[in-house]
Amino acid sequence: MASLGDVQLPDDVDRAKANRLINWILDLEDDNDKTARYDDSAMIQKIGKQIKDEIKCL
């Protein structure tokens, strides 16, 4: 079974930004699992846009 220790951080990925994104995505998924507000397509766009925004921010 894969463990977190096996997951290597690529050179072009910032750990803090990745962690922020992970928490943001899980909050969104948690809310959407309970409310079913967005369909898959909308969720994919929301997550994609958030990743873009997070990477651009300094």
């Binding site: 079974m1 690529p10 899980l26 909050d27 309970k34 409310t35 651009k56």
Partner: protein, 664 residues
Amino acid sequence: MLIKTITVENFLPFQGKQHIKFSTDKDRNVTLIMGNNGAGKTSLAQAFEWCLYGKAPKDTVQVINAFVRDRIAPGAYRYASVEIEIEKDEKIYSVSRRQKYARKENGSLEKPAQHEFAIFYKEDGETRQVAAGDRGSTINRLLSNELSHYFFFDGEHVKNMRKEIEQGKSSDFADAVKTILGLQPIASALGHLKATGNRNSVDRWFSKQLDVAGNADLEAKKKRIDTLGKTIERVGEELELAEDDEELAKQNVAECQRLLRENAESEKAQKDVERASALLKQARVAVTTTRGDLFRLFRKQQYRFLVERPIRDAKEELADEDKISKGIPSVDDKTIRFILERGECICGTKFETGSDIAKHLYELLDYVPPKDLGTYISEFDKECRLRTEGDFTFIDDLAEAYRKYCEAGNSVKTAEKAVEKAVAFLESLNSVDVGILRTNLRKAEEDRSRAAGRVATARRQIANAKNEIATLDSEIKAYSAKSKRNQEITHCLSYVDYIYRYLDAYYKTHEASTREQLRDTVNKFFTEMYNGELHLSLDDNYGVAVTVDDIDTSHETWKTSSGQTLAIILAFILGILDIAKAQSEEDDGLLKGDTYPLVMDAPLSDFDKTRIGTICNLLPSVAEQVIIIIKDTDGELAEEHMKDRIGRRYTIERLHDYDSVVKE
């Protein structure tokens, strides 16, 4: 989440407004509501689900109080309503549902109007209303309808949960449990970040934005990636089937081997039967052979045996020449015939043809040359020598052949007894045919081998396709890196890839450990409630199987008493509550566990006094808030066991038909 208050007005047996404030004190988190049969306990429990989810009470068409309804004047109207205050994430929500009942001028009742549903919440000291389109999602965020039956606990829900727990294979059930335990958001995120096959996903959403227009080769590469994705999906499905088949075949092989091991004694006995049967067959062949030898010997030698004595006697007889010589020396047949023709003997005696003398002379012809008896004797002697030459051991040979024949016959009898004994022993063991088991094992091993071949082929195809995709991806990325926009997208894809791999590893690690933790916790609570030999195990879909000590009964229907079933369900609910609460208290964890109240209608009626005590101790220590609606007699017991944990007490009193009131 905490339920702060409920207010019912003209709802079922309650006339006017009845208000209950639930205990939200952490140490005294139990609210006890007692009532006699028919006072309105179940109606109060139903008010929660009617208000939150619009779920009409079973067997009830109109929720308005019948007394109030019948007194609505023509042209007037009254409302039945329920309002619940809920605290979650430091916000107070007020959820209300009401239904208008109006009477026409002609005195008949109008069709009940649509429910009026509203949600308000207080934030930063201000009260705001949730927009109509967001009410459903707000309720689901507080406590979704799918999860509600775990926490609004009554006889109807127990019946449904019993089915779910016994069947335990519903993916909805597994999803609901994962949601409570906080695993579902990770599973959903994984599905959105990367998808197998042709489904859209975040990584594909980014990949589509890569500017590869105008480059026919790159377009072809992207198309090839799509095709390979479809291949992976298709072969992945085949792989799943093949893996299932392989697993099944392995189980079959193991089962056949187990049966063969169990029947090893039978197999040995079966072999003994076969060996004894083979010996019997050999002995029977030997009987046939020796009998044939005996008969052949007899046929061949019997003549000599029978004639030897007469020949010896004859030879002894012939040895006396005087006895055999009847001829007249120097007289031959011509002399005799001359005398016969002349009719006068040498001595001058005349005779007639046919006279005694003539007859005597005719007889003499047999003893004079050329018909001389010596010739016959010589031939006879020669024949006798031929037939009696050499050693004659017929009797000894016959005795030996007969002995062998008897010996073979005895061997048959011995072999028959051995077969009889072996068959009797085999039959005394059981009726399992080891031969059939061996055939089944061989077939199962062939099936396993075929399935393993399919698995290996599918895995190889998937690995090849993935390798090709990786090569194509890196070629596309290398090209894409040439433009600034493509560089940004490639950067985003690196994040997507890392987040996916991180969450995947996190999910795999925590899903298994959470299930293990849930199994242990559920068993801990179950053992506290039901101190017997029964234990519970959980499968991959969180289906519960009852085990008796170490005997797995998951493939059988295990009949539990209603008390045991209720204990299993309570233990399961308390188990997921306990783990969800622990996860909600972890700051650094990614699992989105939550806390939930327990609203229980008559939860103790199936338990004896000892278990009621145990359950009364467990409930408030595990659930964040417990609301127990209970009949007077059980309530007194509950009160006795939970006195230090009860924050508020109410009684429902039935004053008249359709007129119940709540008193603190």
